[in-house]
């Protein structure tokens, strides 16, 4: 044989290296033999399943599956051996697996088959996707909760009827996915609360069941801390609840009552659950104060003033010509505009972006004609020039004489929700494109490899015999090799794009991260006569993020900035600051000519540069989105472009 390696040693060496590779893999890797017995179980598999390799080697792999797969797996294996009909082999499947504790969790599974001599080995690469699944369902739940609030908000404002309480109780239980919910009213001048509406109570309880304020778990001040660390009131414990959430209705000094939900399964109420309950309480407070104020108040001009001062929805009244009669404090707060300054002004001129004027007016006309708007989402302008997305529900206000005196519009701010949806959609789209790119890259890379190798061979032959007649052939070959290299780099960029964005999070010192990145680019900046600096960062900031991937983002943005400035003397500035308490804002400003108006720099393959692939920014944005952040590019004042990257300091939310 063509090797002089002494037998014995390399096997041991190879085995050890092999083991190291396996153990450093992040995915669980499990091999089984033809009978389903486990022959390999790497370290990631130990962590994922809770079994030690030593305990599980030799056992049937069905042990790692929940019913009914556990019972069926031997049959699958046999059928595959007999018919070659594969269910799992050669594709990625989403299935469930079982930990040692019995807990079932979702996985992504890919199985391959190998033959060693006459033996068959099936190897599976397994990824735990429970986090991803949880994230998706949490987002879905939040969207449902907001729908629910919008509908209740409309009901609350349109009629203060007693059914609003039943409605609220039902939606509260649905929105939080709990078994028990209750709306308790505080009896005036007493420390007792009475159940007015609810879900999951025994018959007769509603209207009669009472509990003392002391047993509510919410103290007199009804502090937020109480809602976060819930106590289960006795009345709910009697129904078997083991976890509860209580939120006061109305202001803390003079609460009108209490919203309570209970769960028979142990669970933690997340921040968004608490926010949902609190918003619902706000709506109810509005409805209840309306009810207490009586019908007279609702009938006439004073209608507006008694309405939902506290509700976290927009309430606005327009006359039939679209002029502002009234809006509530929530809109003042959201838009930065005072009712005093807006009263009598044209709604559309004040609040609607000019490009939407025509559409908004025609929708308003339709509302007046009786086709009320339900759930349409429209852009609204704030005083400082930002746009919010508002979901509107309209109702025509009759004037009592068969005509109308205007339109009541209820709006819910869905900006954040839309942004979350768009980001999710964009991630999905990028993933789809990634799959397509994978195929294309594969199809291109193979012939390109052939072309490149042919050119290299010609060049080598010519270089070995550099006589005059072949010199021109050599030049041609050299050009072919260079062209092939350029194509190879392009293919490489596509590969980078298609690669999955899995993050390896670590704590990063923001200042050092920026300084190091800037230092890397300073040479090139200097050669172009561009001054590249990191602006002073006021406080020490630590970011949880993937250093390599974020470095790629910054590299891309800085490279773009340098190319934008070109050869002319100019400046590029990197900055960082904390915003909204928990977010980091990174900015890269250049003094170049700005982004052309007709190019969306984040859409794939768009580029304003003659040599760009149009992949740099989409890939960067993909990375930022995966971190739970956002990325924008805008004109800077007085000139140039500013690229802003916002990231949660604590890393992507789970």
């Amino acid at each position: 044989m063509a090797t002089s390696v002494p037998s014995g040693i390399p096997d041991a060496l190879q085995a050890r290296r092999w083991q190291t590779v396996l153990d450093s893999a992040r995915d669980a890797i499990i091999s089984i033999d033809a009978d389903g017995r486990i022959s390999l179980f790497n370290r990631a598999a130990e962590t994922m399943f809770g079994w030690r390799a030593a305990e599980i080697l030799g056992q049937n792999v069905a042990l790692l599956m929940p019913s009914p797969y556990q019972e069926q797996h031997d049959d699958f294996l046999r059928r595959y051996r007999e018919t070659g009909e594969a269910k799992a082999i050669g594709r990625i499947r989403f299935v469930e697996a079982k930990r040692r504790s019995g807990a079932v969790f979702p996985i992504e599974l890919s199985v391959s088959e190998a033959r060693v001599a006459d033996d068959v080995v099936y190897s599976a690469i397994i990824r735990d996707v429970s986090e991803r699944v949880r994230l998706q369902s949490a987002l879905g739940e939040r969207l449902r909760q907001q729908e629910s609030l919008a509908e209740l908000g409309v009901a609350a404002v349109q009629d203060g009827s007693p059914t609003i309480l039943d409605e609220a109780a039902r939606r509260l239980a649905d929105g939080l996915g709990t078994d028990v919910s209750g709306v308790f009213e505080r009896l005036p001048a007493e420390t007792t609360l009475r159940l007015r509406a609810g879900v999951g109570w025994p018959s007769g309880a509603i209207g009669s069941l009472e509990m003392t304020a002391a047993d509510t778990g919410v103290d007199a001040a009804m502090t937020e801390a109480e809602a976060q660390a819930p106590h289960v009131p006795g009345a709910l414990r009697d129904l078997g609840a083991v976890a509860a959430l209580s939120v006061p209705v109305g202001n803390a000094e003079q609460p009108l009552g209490l919203l309570v939900v209970g769960s028979r399964q142990a669970r933690v109420f997340e921040a968004h659950d608490v926010a949902f309950a609190r918003t619902m309480a706000g709506l109810l407070a509005g409805a209840l104060s309306l009810e207490q104020a009586g019908h007279a108040l609702r009938r006439e001009r004073d209608f507006a003033s008694g309405l939902v001062e506290t509700a976290p929805v927009i309430v606005t009244v327009l006359d039939p010509t679209g002029h502002i009669e009234w809006f509530n404090p929530h809109l003042e707060h959201l838009s930065g505009r005072c009712l005093e300054h807006c009263w009598g002004r044209d709604w559309f001129e004040v609040f609607i972006p000019p490009r939407e004027h025509e559409r908004a007016r025609s929708r308003f006309a339709r509302s007046l004609a009786g086709h009320s708007r339900r759930g349409t989402v429209e852009a609204m302008l704030t005083r400082d020039g930002h746009e919010r997305l508002i979901q509107w529900h309209d109702t025509v206000l009759p004037d009592g004489g068969g005509g109308m005196r205007g339109v009541l519009a209820i709006g819910l701010d869905v900006t954040d929700r839309s942004r979350a949806e768009q980001d999710l959609q964009q991630r999905q789209r990028l993933a789809d494109i990634g799959a397509l790119v994978t195929r294309i890259v594969h199809d291109i890379a193979n012939p390109l490899a052939g072309l490149s190798m042919l050119a290299q061979r010609v060049l080598r032959r010519v270089e070995r015999a550099p006589t005059e007649p072949v010199r021109s052939v050599g030049d041609a070959a050299r050009q072919m090799v260079e062209t092939a290299h350029r194509l190879e780099r392009l293919v490489g960029e596509f590969k980078d794009f298609a690669r999955e964005q899995r993050l390896h999070l670590e704590a990063l010192d923001v200042r050092r991260f920026l300084e190091e990145t800037a230092a890397f680019w300073r040479l090139e900046a200097g050669a172009r006569g561009i001054d590249l600096q990191v602006q002073s960062i006021l406080e020490p900031l630590t970011l949880r993020g993937d250093a390599d991937k974020l470095r790629r983002v910054l590299d891309n943005v800085i490279k773009n900035a340098l190319e934008a400035v070109g050869e002319a003397p100019g400046r590029v500035r990197l900055g960082a600051c904390r915003t909204d308490g928990n977010r980091l804002r990174l900015s890269v400003r250049d003094t170049g000519p700005g982004v052309p108006a007709n190019v969306d720099p984040f859409s794939l393959f768009e580029t304003s540069k003659p040599s760009g692939t149009g992949l740099g920014l989409p890939v960067s944005k993909q990375i930022v989105l995966a971190h739970g952040g956002g990325m924008t590019l805008a004109a800077d004042r007085p000139l140039g472009t500013v690229c802003t990257i916002e990231l949660p300091l604590d890393g992507p939310a789970v």
């Binding site: 044989m1 063509a2 390696v5 396996l22 190998a114 690469i125 890379a445």
Partner: protein, 127 residues
């Protein structure tokens, strides 16, 4: 089996991209290495008739059986022959399969002739 001079080793080359196969085979032959080249695993004859093979260079993604299958088949008989797997698209399946086998060299396509040549040299002449 006669031990070959390290500079004259037979390379078993399997790749379904004919331009790549013929160019790499040609370049290796220019450097004096005999090459047996095939377009698929199924075309490779009984391995015992290729006893002078010193190294296997195979594409991963082949029609029919994969390059890994061929590596497994080869190693069942000649466990010490080094294997270089070339792939146009390195993904987790490839990396996982390589990790499971451990002792394979994976190179990305397109590739530089000098890289292959240097690796072949290293694999067959270090001992």
């Amino acid at each position: 089996m006669v031990p070959l001079d390290c500079n004259v080793m037979r390379v078993l080359l399997v790749d379904d991209e004919s331009s790549f196969r013929s160019a790499l085979a040609g370049a290796l032959e220019d450097d004096g290495h005999p090459v047996s080249a095939f377009g698929s695993v199924e075309e490779v004859p009984d391995l015992t008739t290729l006893a002078d093979v010193a190294v296997l260079v195979t594409d991963y993604d082949l029609p029919g059986r994969s390059g890994f299958d061929l590596a497994d088949r080869l190693h069942a008989t000649f466990p010490e022959i080094p294997v270089i797997v070339v792939t146009a698209y390195r993904n987790e399946t490839v990396e996982g399969a390589a990790a499971i086998r451990g002792h394979l060299h994976v190179l990305d396509k397109p590739l530089d002739y000098e890289t292959v040549h240097a690796l072949l040299h290293r694999l067959t002449s270090v001992h």
